[in-house]
Symmetry: C2
Subunit: 150 residues, 2 copies
DNA sequence: TGGATAGCCGAGCGGATTGCTCGGAATTGC
DNA sequence: GCAATTCCGAGCAATCCGCTCGGCTATCCA
């Protein structure tokens, strides 16, 4: 029951991009340093994000990545689904699939309704949070952090 | 973002035990055959379930396992936590842990609030479903299945 | 009393997944 | 043309998953 580093690092990087939205392309190296991640690993994740057009890339010197849409238009769910695949706790709960055979039970798996309810609840959360609101949270938190100066 | 076979098989087996609650101990072999699982694998899971006293064991011939409490008193969350560990999507969201260092960010991980909200929503679901209600669902479904007889 | 039926326990193991790294191309700004 | 970047594919060590196996112990029943 874990989100892998793909989803976690990817979301961190996307939030970073959201913080810098409208300031031109940001190179991966900058994101990686700022968040303490490996840039060669981030490369992989951004390949997927680009194919899903959640980010746009600018090649060459002074290039980098920027969000493909405004931060309000990108949800956490969008990012996680691209990087992690379907957000279902079990095969048989993936939306659109009516695959009962996976459960080992020839007729119906008694636990399936649990996985479906779990999936719905997970999707409700991640689809209701977008990058803009994450940014706002982050800015408020670092604002509180200012108390520790002086 | 997956529940492993430990959690899934374990929940299936526990639901089976709930269906037979009050009828004396059920051997693992019976559960395994009925659910189409491997009994030597189930053994491992039941070792953990027993230590958590979610099941009680009776050794020797005519022995087996039975629920440690009535089905209404055992939630899906109880079973999953024993078999899968903490139901958090990330280390930094485990209840009681205030471990920000895992996120790679020296100060605060911007994504943490997402993982915490996810965890809360997951726990709300699994803690609100108990084995008794799962049994009832199953009985209703197999009731509909009776249409296929004759 | 002895055999059959169970749980109990620990070790092991092949395959898949994770979390990277590396090298080298292609593209572009200066 | 050179430096900065994205792009792409391969590879790889470590870990985890999903089991299996062998042998022990406890208990019932004939």
């Amino acid at each position: 029951m874990n989100i892998s580093t793909r989803g976690r690092y990817g979301l961190m990087a996307m939030t970073e991009l959201a913080m810098r939205y409208g300031q031109g392309p940001v190179p991966l190296k900058t994101i990686a340093e700022s968040q303490g991640l490996s840039d060669s690993y981030l490369e992989q994740l951004f390949a997927a994000l680009r194919k899903a057009s959640l980010v746009r890339s600018v090649r060459g010197a002074q290039g980098g990545y920027e969000l493909g849409k405004p931060p309000e238009a990108i949800s956490v769910g969008d990012v996680l689904r691209v990087l992690e695949g379907p957000l279902a706790p079990a095969e048989c709960a993936i939306e659109g699939k009516d695959d009962f055979t996976h459960c080992g039970n020839p007729d119906r798996c008694m636990a399936r309704s649990v996985w479906v309810r779990l999936r719905e609840s997970i999707e409700k959360v991640v689809d209701s949070i977008n990058l803009a609101s994450l940014c706002e949270e982050a800015r408020n938190q670092s604002g509180q952090g200012l108390m520790y100066y002086i």
